[in-house]
Symmetry: C2
DNA sequence: AGATAAAATGATAGCGCAACCATTTTGACT
DNA sequence: AGTCAAAATGGTTGCGCTATCATTTTATCT
């Protein structure tokens, strides 16, 4: 096994100096067309691939951005990720991705690990990082974006929307439709879910008529199946009184919908169901499920753009960007 | 902004040499407890983070594995990815992930880019890489795993299952149930989908009784909505004769199921529906959908283990590993 | 043609770390 | 206490590349 070719090998084949090869790869317009062609030919011929570690070390630019999401299995972060990848492509960056499983401590470790890659930007989900994590991030001096929710005290930049407000709005939607015995079905209970629940409670507290609320939550991770179980739980707790449920996400809502059929409850006449995140399935089941839509793909894209535009700038503390949400009313309510 | 601390800074604070700090980070048991404690304290105090580029360059170990999947949005690869991440964690590796959008050319570019990270292993999806990509991969000398399907001529290692056989089996399942006018609904039409289709055709050709087949495919990417459209298309093409459909994945199958309700077709009496991949929703809709399950998470895990066990070994051309699949019969057929 | 600027190319040094080998310290034994 | 091996620690060097500056070539003008 002859060892991997390096710059010098290419230079020898092309009959130029090493530095010229380097330039062809990073600043092609600084090299005359003649040499460039020769070099490119040589590169392709011997299958040369630049050593990123050496390049990053010498240039002090890693061409990498770090991303941490709380869960790979949650399709919601997948959408964000797709936005990130689509934007990253334009900028010739690589992504190093971490999954912190909703744990700030795991996130702290991941942040340290990912920072070792000298990323040129860092995208985080949510706002509950540990103090040490914040210290490391600030010290790194790179631009940082916190995603999904809005923060009063972002580490650096911030883009997301108010889960509290969305919770208020969707609950008011149910109240306006005449439902008065509202259930909240919550799984995982991460900060965003908690904010939705807080919105739910606030809307009910502020309502001008008497109404009842039943809150059923679990720290288990969300799934369709769990949605069915939680629906049973809330019907048990309310002794069958509950006439509408706000599910903290569409997985639960779908599970609740399927379960309601098995329980012979008509949707929305016996029970209304609404979800959160507006997954594709929610629009296509029968009846279609009311949900809260947000531009996740765009949020991911914008996060990358924010990072890139902040490159080098010393001050990039624009105020948090509210990307908004939209209640999508459908037949289930 | 004081620049990022390096090994020497830590060494100064801890009152030891730089190399000792290095050892504490990579070989803690080679350092006496006393010094180790001092160093760890210093590291934490000044928030030192090792420069991965320099470390990789000096040690010739990047601690990175490269992964390319054809689509971030397809939940199937998400499952594999989770397996990969879970295994990678044990080995203290980082993943660099690329999404080639089902394009061998994009994949070739990605392979070149990712190889520049000097990964210690490479995980690819499928078996249709370009010649140049194969050249680069072989030249890199690192262990490589091709995932998902089985290949006669793998680049290196291979783990997956036979989509052709699965297509045959599921089609036979429909035939055994008495269906004789079978539709195939296919989206994307990547190599694995094509193999499923080939299996479908083979089973029908080999069947000992006359039966009819209707193949409706599109290169559009798969979605639930598209499943509904394809069901309409196959009913149109068969002039309402089609009595069972094999959908190339569960998204389409769900869409077909929802659409069949709108079309007032009873499942499975008017039309049987089966899918592929066995997503959670397939088991929970009414009627539940027959599908083909495969251990995707485990496949991802095993891929990483294969890479790790092949480290350094010159020969790791074990024969392809068939991880198998399972037909999950449900009410929809 | 000669003068000057601009573009193209090259030589050298150093990015931060770990491999390698040298040296010092410690412990185990007679 | 003295000997030796083993463990712990340190010094030097080079990984492969690019920033910086120096030099050469080319283009543009009078």
């Amino acid at each position: 096994m002859n060892k991997k070719p390096n710059l010098k090998d290419v230079a020898k084949v092309a009959g130029v100096s090493a530095i010229t090869v380097s330039r062809v790869l990073s600043n092609p317009d600084k090299v005359s067309e003649k040499l460039r062609a020769k070099v490119e030919q040589a590169v392709h011929e011997i299958g040369y691939i630049r050593n990123h570690a050496a390049s990053a070390l010498a240039s002090r630019r890693s061409g990498v951005i770090a991303v941490i999401i709380p869960s790979l299995s949650n399709i919601v972060f997948n959408d964000v990720l797709q936005g990130i990848y689509s934007a990253v492509k334009q900028h010739h960056l690589q992504v190093v991705l971490g999954d912190c499983h909703y744990s700030p401590l795991e996130e702290e470790k991941l942040i340290a690990t990912l920072l070792s890659q000298s990323p040129e930007g860092f995208i985080l989900t949510g706002t509950d990082q540990t103090d040490y994590a914040r210290k490391l991030l600030k010290q790194s001096g790179i631009p940082i974006v916190q995603l999904m929710e809005l923060s009063d005290s972002p580490i650096d930049m911030n883009i997301g929307f108010s889960h509290f407000n969305a919770g208020v709005d969707i609950t008011n939607h149910l109240l306006q439709k005449g439902y008065r015995k509202l259930g909240f079905l919550g799984a995982r209970m991460d900060t965003r879910t908690q904010q939705r629940l807080a919105g739910f409670k606030k809307a009910i507290a502020d309502f001008h008529q008497p109404c009842q609320s039943y809150v059923v939550t679990t720290t288990q991770s969300s799934s369709i199946r769990l949605g069915g179980q939680l629906l049973q739980a809330v019907m048990a707790e309310s002794q069958g009184q509950c006439d509408a449920v706000f599910c903290c996400n569409d997985d639960l809502a779908l599970g609740a919908l399927f379960e309601s059929k098995r329980m012979n409850l008509k949707v929305p006449s016996d029970i209304a169901i609404c979800g959160f995140n507006d997954l594709e399935a929610s629009a296509l089941v029968e009846p279609a499920i009311t949900s809260v839509a947000s531009p996740r793909f765009e949020m991911g894209q914008q996060a990358v753009e924010l990072l890139m535009s902040a490159q080098g700038q010393d001050k990039h503390h624009r105020s948090p960007i509210d990307i908004g949400y939209r209640i999508v009313e459908r037949a289930s309510t």
